[in-house]
């Protein structure tokens, strides 16, 4: 792709945001970043990947952490910052990619080629997806969705002045339950194509 484009996908748990991101990347021939960026960070810093995964996209513990200027003792903070640095480097190098989560809508907000998207879903559709994906009961699915969405919100809002899921900060907010995951991905891909033409 000649013009640089970065697509950030923020998503509710079990809304299909991750699959949509993968589909967009595949169709447009873009790089795809999600949890896999931890592999490179682990390799680069000689850290065990399990350690990074344990604290990935988690908010810091309010009581057990403290910040002094740009320094923090919170492992969650430090791992987040490592990921943000990785994304900044990637964007600075002119790479085009789709990034799921990692507060990318805020970290890369100064890039004109950034297209921030938020994917949500109907409550019932998300519960059904969680039951199917994790083979759990409805009650467990509801709790799991609440817990994950709360964690994502806290994580995002910790590192960004923009609120997670606030439509003012995204170019497009879409409910994937209405068209289904596949058609939503097609719709978003077309939207991104048209946006790239206008860059």
């Amino acid at each position: 792709m000649e013009k640089q484009v970065i697509v950030s996908i923020s998503r509710e748990f079990c809304s299909g945001g991750h699959i949509i991101g993968e589909s967009i990347a595949k169709t447009l021939g873009l790089g795809f970043c999600d949890r896999n960026i931890l592999d490179e960070i682990a390799q680069r810093n000689n850290i065990r990947i399990e350690y990074l995964e344990k604290y990935d996209e988690k908010p810091r513990n309010l009581i057990l952490s403290r910040r002094v200027g740009a320094f923090s003792n919170s492992i969650e903070d430090i791992i987040s910052e490592m990921q943000f640095e990785y994304l900044r480097d990637k964007a600075l190098n002119g790479e085009s990619f789709v990034i799921v989560g990692r507060c990318a809508d805020s970290v890369l907000r100064n890039y004109k080629c950034l297209i921030p998207i938020f994917v949500m879903g109907d409550e019932e559709a998300k519960i059904a997806e969680a039951c199917r994906r994790y083979n759990i009961s409805r009650e467990e699915a509801i709790n799991k969705i609440r817990r994950h969405d709360r964690t994502r919100k806290q994580y995002h809002n910790r590192y960004s002045e923009r609120k997670w899921g606030d439509s003012r900060y995204y170019d497009m907010c879409v409910n994937s339950s209405k068209l289904g995951i596949e058609e939503t991905a097609t719709l978003l891909t077309e939207y991104i194509r048209q946006r790239i033409d206008k860059f």
Binding site: L64, R67, F71, N73
Partner: protein, 451 residues
């Protein structure tokens, strides 16, 4: 009075909670709470213009005693401008030294001097951490020492975590030895009129004895790692020359001279009569004048947020002081201890240590200062005894946990950014027992010497 007392307590508690939660920048928290103290406590409920003026304490700056009065208390209440001016001056000096490459040069030279051998390197870096922290704030010391340690760790293929943990502890310990080593000491010293020499011959002796014990403690705590690294004995051929970190020889020489002047002025300030505010201002001015075209850059890099944090903090603590809350606390400690000096010392030192392990020691020391002043007056105790207990408790207590002192946070962060994570478990396993040892030794020392 009850309403103003309740308001002062609420504002103080809200300030502490907001500082701990770290959602809003801490200087905004203290300034906001300070403003509320002025408006609600002093203005709305006390209708006391004099309390506001006493708290703002601006006129003290324009008195000769503020700049030249060795051995006298410079401010009894309100904003401690001496502390703020001194810290600002030191910030400017440290920025100048950092820019010239002083800290990297010193660390690399010491490493070369001990031939990069793990055990001597481990002990030397502990000692230099303590010595530098006697004159420079421990955050700066750890920032550079930890960074050099990580680099040496990579080159020599050794784990830098044991060294960083021991350096952090020694930085906090070294800071307790002098009046300018740690912000609580500056606050205590300027408020109660103690000199550099007073601290050195009291907290300095305790810190010195503790340092010897702590070097042994950390050596034994990490003996397995050190033995393994010594056995490896890997020293690469192409290690960087210490001189290579010096960007500009002229700037380097000037920063060394200014640092030496600062040390001499501080050590002799009881004899010369120059106050720490004067020393801070002069050192800052010399640094700025000699920095030439970098003057603006140095001024921009001063941590104004920390200075504003102090301003707000002093106002909030004044709210507690002016409304008599801290006298009540002092009275309570006096009643509990029944006037027993040993018990009072034990309470002050352990209370300060435990509190400082979890909350910022600067607001704690600022709050406790009027308490010990009142306690000394009502119980007929020499205030210096309580001051040393407060100083050692607040300075050392912060070493126990990763969040207890700023140096801990900086050291852990520098290590983690280079792939060496230090969690609560690992940190406390080594540093909490060391803290207990130093606080216990200091308490016993005080029992023998002062009680």
């Amino acid at each position: 009075m009850i309403v103003s007392q309740v308001l002062a307590i609420i504002i103080f508690v809200v300030m502490f909670v907001l500082i701990v939660l770290d959602k809003i920048e801490r200087h905004i928290v203290t300034l906001g709470c300070g403003l509320l103290t002025l408006l609600l406590v002093f203005g709305l409920t006390m209708h006391s213009g004099s309390a506001i003026m006493e708290t703002l304490n601006v006129k003290s700056i324009f008195t000769p005693g503020f700049w030249y009065s060795a051995g006298e208390a410079e401010s009894s209440s309100g904003i401690n401008w001496s502390t703020i001016i001194f810290i600002a001056g030191m910030m400017v000096m440290v920025e100048g030294m950092a820019r010239a490459g002083f800290f990297q040069w010193l660390c690399m030279n010491l490493a070369k001097l001990v031939h990069y051998k793990p055990v001597p390197l481990f002990i030397t870096f502990m000692l230099i951490s303590a010595v530098l922290s006697m004159f420079i704030d421990s955050i700066t010391v750890i920032l550079f020492l930890a960074a050099v340690t990580v680099e040496l760790g990579k080159l020599l293929k050794i784990d830098p975590v044991p060294m960083i943990l021991s350096e952090i502890f020694c930085a906090n310990l070294g800071g307790s030895a002098t009046m300018c080593g740690d912000p609580p000491n500056i606050i205590i010293g300027t408020s109660l009129g103690y000199s550099f020499g007073d601290f050195l011959t009291n907290t300095g002796v305790m810190a010195g004895i503790s340092l010897v014990l702590i070097v042994f403690y950390f050596y034994f705590a990490f003996r397995k790692e050190l033995a393994q690294e010594s056995a490896n004995g890997f020293v690469p051929e192409n290690l960087p020359d210490p001189k290579s970190v010096i960007q500009n020889k002229r700037d380097f020489a000037i920063s060394c001279v200014i640092f030496a002047c600062a040390v001499v002025l501080l050590v002799t300030h009881a004899q010369t009569g120059l106050t720490v505010a004067f020393i801070g201002l002069v050192i800052a001015l010399i640094t700025l004048i000699t920095s030439g075209r970098h003057m603006l850059l140095l001024l921009q890099r001063v941590d104004y947020k920390t200075l504003l944090f102090f301003v707000g903090l002093f106002v909030v603590v004044s709210g507690l002081e002016q409304t008599g809350i801290l006298e009540v606390v002092a009275g309570f400690i006096g009643t509990v201890s029944n006037g027993n000096l040993k018990l009072i010392v034990a309470i002050i030192i352990w209370l300060s240590a435990i509190a400082s392990a979890f909350i910022d020691n600067i607001p704690f020391a600022a709050t406790m200062l009027p308490v010990i002043r009142s306690l000394a007056a009502t119980q007929g105790i020499d205030p210096s005894t309580l001051a040393w207990a407060l100083s050692m408790g607040t300075d050392i207590g912060g070493s126990a946990t990763p969040i207890g002192a700023s140096a801990n946070v900086v050291g852990i962060s520098v290590a983690a950014k280079n792939g060496h994570f230090i969690g609560w478990g690992k940190y406390c396993k080594y540093s909490a027992p060391a803290t207990v040892i130093v606080v216990a030794v200091s308490m016993l020392f005080m029992f023998v010497r002062y009680c």
